[in-house]
Symmetry: C2
Subunit: 254 residues, 2 copies
């Protein structure tokens, strides 16, 4: 770990160059301006912020408030640094689609870089009931245009996790499974779809929603005329957290 | 700025306490475990990460790769620190909805805290054409269930920015304005809606999409039977960036 408190810009520049050469994680607390060009462009005037240059080429600029970065570039960006017009200029360029993030540093309060190791698995726990409720409230995560009819609708032999109507007016039975869904889940879903068809005499779709499908189960699913939708629990719970967290979340949730 | 390189846990604990008391921005590079309880729960085993405690109570935990935090808490969380079982335990609790993020620190590589000042305005630039194209490709940002019919459809006296069909099969004329929309935008939209009604003899909706409405214009809009949808350019361009940035983005975009 190399850590510099209030280095001169020349020293900071040399340290950033070393960090990039060694593919180190590098962090700066600095007075800077930030410019971005891509599909749109943006400009952020001078202020004190944290700049993270990660080992995979992703870049984040964080203001002293808020949980979202004010600017960011995804992994795989090409990072470079130069001294120019009395500023330390850190640049992150992505080629496809082309976009460029430029941080112009006027003053460095702290700079540190080192190789960070983190191989830990991220494990997410949530009950099937939690997942079902989240999907019932966010049907667009399964398919656009779904409208909820009922949660836990009783049918002969059990209950349907969620019943929706799709954009074309067809009923959709959704069976939710935590983790990897096996053949039993397909058979159960098929049973509910058939019951509902018999009850209502109309076309009914069945979607199995799970983190993954067990080997060989896709064939069975397709033969039975059912569908599969893979869910990413992490993303699902992030959606739920974002919905509660902020008034400035995605427009679709306004 | 207080900066400690490889402090003992006791020193780190005292520094974090000082940072929280002074409502400082505090950053740690540390070997830690992370646990979260809320709607779901998660666990992340030991690894080297960056932990940011912001001045507004938001918390971010970043791994050495990826542009998304592995864990985060929104502004307004209650932050605390304690020494427990030979670990520095940093806790961020949000009350409504209740959720708790706990970072158990085994070893601190770097700790720094200071008051950061950042009052700069974030300015976003993008042409009306860019906004129109993004909305044409992401109609759910205007309204759920919209289907695109045509971009820049020529009509007498000009062209309609985007023409959609809504969930109930009605045509929807969307007029996009960069910045604050004034009375002219309403009049223009009304004209297109009327032309289309005359051409097709069916019901046509009109939605004005802009960052804001000028004072007094809402009344005119409502009298003309038109609708307004506020857009946040920042979020709009983030959506566009995310769509290009990652294969692990929201399920809705898979």
């Amino acid at each position: 770990m190399e850590a510099l408190v209030r280095p001169k810009l020349q020293e900071a520049y040399e340290a950033v160059k070393r960090a990039l050469e060694c593919v180190h994680f590098c962090i700066l607390i600095a007075n800077c301006e930030v410019k971005y060009w891509g599909r749109a462009s943006s400009k952020l005037g001078r202020g004190q912020r944290v700049i993270m240059l990660k080992q995979d080429g992703s870049v984040l600029v964080h203001r002293p408030y808020g949980y979202e970065p004010v600017n960011w570039q995804p992994p795989g960006s090409r990072l470079s640094a130069e001294l120019k017009d009395g500023k330390l200029v850190v640049r992150a360029v992505r080629l496809r689609p082309w976009e460029e993030l430029v941080v112009e540093v006027y003053e460095v309060h702290l700079l540190a870089h080192c190789k960070l190791r983190d191989d830990a698995r991220f494990e997410m726990y949530g009950s099937e009931g939690d997942i079902r409720d989240l999907l019932a409230n966010n049907p667009e995560l399964i398919e656009k245009g779904l409208k909820r009819v009922e949660v836990e609708r009783k049918v002969e032999g059990g209950s349907i996790d969620i019943l929706f109507i799709d954009e074309r007016g067809r009923l959709v039975v959704v069976e939710v499974k935590r983790g990897t869904a096996g053949a039993e889940a397909v058979i159960q879903l098929k049973k509910y779809v058939e019951r509902l068809k018999g009850e209502l005499g109309r076309d009914v779709r069945g979607i199995l929603v799970a983190e993954d499908l067990a080997r060989g189960v896709r064939g069975l699913l397709v033969r039975e005329g059912l569908e599969f939708k893979k869910i990413d629990l992490r993303k699902l719970f992030e959606v739920s957290k974002e919905q509660g967290a902020s008034l400035t979340h995605w427009l679709t949730r306004c």
